[in-house]
């Protein structure tokens, strides 16, 4: 019972200052290219990823319904059955899920009749419990419902169940561990990215000791929790579904950097900076920011930041973080991660110390400015999208192998 009427996201130009006609014709061309990519056997997934990333994303919910399954390699001919009612009483997370879904009114289109909304909320509960029940290794977190509702509203209950299950065992896997340690490690990438681009903002935020929790809900809901315009949410989902699982943290960095002036003018204390950053502006230039996030990903790929993310924070865990993260992003079971971590901890502790020294010497500050010039170019050429796809494949070969065995 998805919203058949909520169509056409990119009806008007998503970029300011570009002629409507120009955009209309590009849009038409894009629709044709997407159809083409869908019609070949096997489906041209690389082309679909490019389309999902580039200007305007996948354009309409109708297209999303066809393309999202391909991006996740979910087969639509064999969808799971509707879950039974008995799940409700028996599941350990039932009460939390119920509580969160009941108060998630804002996620539904304003003006939707209560009855319809309540029906969708029931479906939302069913999908979540179904996925959790089939995957006991996954743990519900507050915010998961914000992700699931996006899929429910775009593709309907049955397909949403299948897509969300795939997503949960891949992109969202780290957030669904018994603890949020891996999520915290991912948040540790935020400051190194910011530092590469604008050391002043980085230093200011460090001095304010603002931490990274302001970006937590951004990361674990793919911004679904904080953006009130659903069109922006689905546009971002196009982008994230086509990219490396760490892309949301690059996008978070880009938002902070976009607000650099406001940040630097803010009082330099934890409360003020946290408050400023956690109130996300609703009129962000999404297409520009998406393109910029892609550029940053290419210039400062996770592997380059991993050691820094590990060493910049918390001395006690620094040694294990890098390794943890590598393993975690390869989507291994957490128990394996933990076992290996124990074994390798001693060795890594020594190793990372020498890394730390080496990195300091090897990273001249000027480098980031040279690279920024490159960024401007790639935005203009739209090459970032292509590069991001390629790099995504390069950096996450394991993830991709699992999605496309």
């Amino acid at each position: 019972m998805y919203l058949k009427k909520s169509k056409s996201v990119g009806a008007s130009s998503p970029l300011n200052g570009i002629g409507k006609q120009d955009w209309d014709s590009r849009r038409k061309r894009k629709v044709a290219e997407i159809s083409q990519a869908l019609s070949v056997t096997p489906v041209d997934v690389a082309a679909l990823r490019r389309m999902a990333i580039s200007e305007g994303g996948l354009l309409t919910d109708e297209i999303r319904r066809k393309v999202w399954p391909k991006l996740l390699n979910v087969h639509t001919d064999n969808l799971p059955e509707k879950p039974g009612e008995d799940l409700r009483e028996n599941h350990k997370d039932y009460h939390q899920v119920l509580l969160d879904v009941r108060r998630s009114l804002r996620r539904f289109p304003p003006g939707m009749p209560d009855e319809q909304r309540e029906g969708l909320q029931e479906e939302l509960i069913d999908i979540i419990l179904h996925v959790l029940d089939r995957n006991p290794q996954l743990h519900y977190y507050q915010g998961y419902h914000d992700i699931v509702v996006t899929f429910l509203l775009v593709v309907g209950e049955r397909l949403a169940t299948a897509l969300v299950e795939k997503l949960s065992t891949h992109h969202l896997r780290d957030f669904m561990d018994p603890t949020m340690d891996n999520t915290k490690h991912i948040l540790n990438y935020l400051m190194p990215i910011i530092e590469r681009v604008n050391p002043d903002v980085h230093d200011f935020m460090q001095q304010a000791e603002v931490g990274t929790i302001f970006a937590l809900s951004w990361l674990i809901t793919w911004f679904g929790h904080v953006l009130s315009d659903f069109r922006h949410v689905v546009r971002l989902y196009d982008f994230f579904l086509a990219c490396h699982p760490l892309m949301p943290i690059y996008f978070a960095a880009v938002i902070v950097l976009h607000r650099e002036e406001e940040v630097l003018e803010c009082e330099c204390d934890m409360a003020s900076v946290h408050h400023l950053l956690s109130q996300i502006p609703q009129d962000l230039p999404y297409e520009t920011l998406i393109s910029r996030a892609g550029d940053l990903f290419v210039q400062f790929p996770p592997s380059e930041l991993a050691r820094e993310a590990a060493q910049q924070y918390s001395q006690q865990t620094a040694a294990s973080t890098f390794k943890d993260f590598e393993l975690a992003s390869a989507q291994q079971r957490p128990d394996t991660v933990l076992r290996r971590r124990r074994k390798e901890q001693a060795a890594l502790a020594a190793q990372s110390q020498s890394h730390a020294q080496a990195m300091v010497v090897a990273r001249p500050r000027a480098k980031r400015f040279v690279r920024l010039a490159v960024m401007g170019l790639t935005v203009a050429l739209g090459a970032a999208a292509l590069a991001v796809v390629n790099t995504a494949l390069e950096w996450a070969p394991k993830l991709d192998l699992q999605l496309f065995p």
Partner: protein, 225 residues
């Protein structure tokens, strides 16, 4: 961890002495769904929110109040109730907390039984009896559904040397009550913190104040409920 007061300095003109207001940082904790977000919203915005959502991580609200002619900034840190957020995420926000508000839902016995765990979490962040702590039983408007009686709650509060307040973030008749609860905490904080000496302009705007002596407050402190 040291409980400290902070000063913010704002210059209203170059020749005038800096105006500063003290900041009281209060953390609000308790199980998911007990009404932490509604209570903090009610205090800061003066009304019951029509739509709240699950709190992910930590939310922050503040309100400037006036006590005996002094402007004081009350910062409320509204935390996520779900267990998994606590260990790795919320920690950071326990720093320099001046007071703790524990919340349970009077219509939900489980939320009351979780209180010892919440008190223990605070203790682990060095927030024991030396900082003002209060216990708030929320949703009193739902009279027919009460599961936690006042007597039981009062006994519990006494045993932990906390004052107990029963209230409702929702019931408009209790509007003043929610306000009064936080004001009581603010008064308590103000009365026990020595005034800070003025600082020449340009000095560091954040000044830790010497630690409060461990004196009078052993028992539950004055409450109007």
């Amino acid at each position: 961890m040291e409980s400290s007061l902070e000063l913010t300095t704002s210059l209203s003109g170059t020749s005038l002495p800096p105006l500063r207001s003290r900041i009281f940082k209060i953390i609000v904790i308790g199980d998911s769904g007990v009404g932490k977000t509604c209570l903090t919203y009610r205090f800061c915005a003066g009304k019951f929110p029509d739509k709240t959502e699950a709190t992910i991580g930590v939310d922050f609200r503040e309100k400037v109040i006036d006590i005996d002619g002094e402007k004081i900034k009350v910062q409320l840190w509204d935390t996520a109730g779900q267990e998994r957020f606590r260990k790795s995420m919320v920690q950071h926000y326990y720093r320099n907390v001046h007071a703790v508000v524990f919340v349970y839902d009077v219509t939900n016995g489980a939320s009351f039984r979780s209180l010892p765990a919440w008190i223990e979490e605070c203790r682990q962040h060095s927030l024991g009896q030396e900082v003002p702590r209060i216990l708030v039983g929320n949703k009193c408007d739902l009279r027919d559904a009460v599961q936690v009686g006042t007597d039981v709650a009062q006994k519990f509060a006494d045993s932990h040397s906390m004052p107990l307040f029963e209230t409702s973030a929702k019931n408009p008749n209790d509007n003043d009550h929610v306000e009064a609860i936080f004001m009581t905490v603010a008064h308590k904080l103000k009365s026990q913190k020595p005034l800070v000496l003025s600082q020449p302009p340009g000095a560091d705007s954040t000044v830790p104040v010497r630690k409060r002596e461990e004196e009078e407050e052993r028992g539950p402190w004055g409450c109007s409920c």
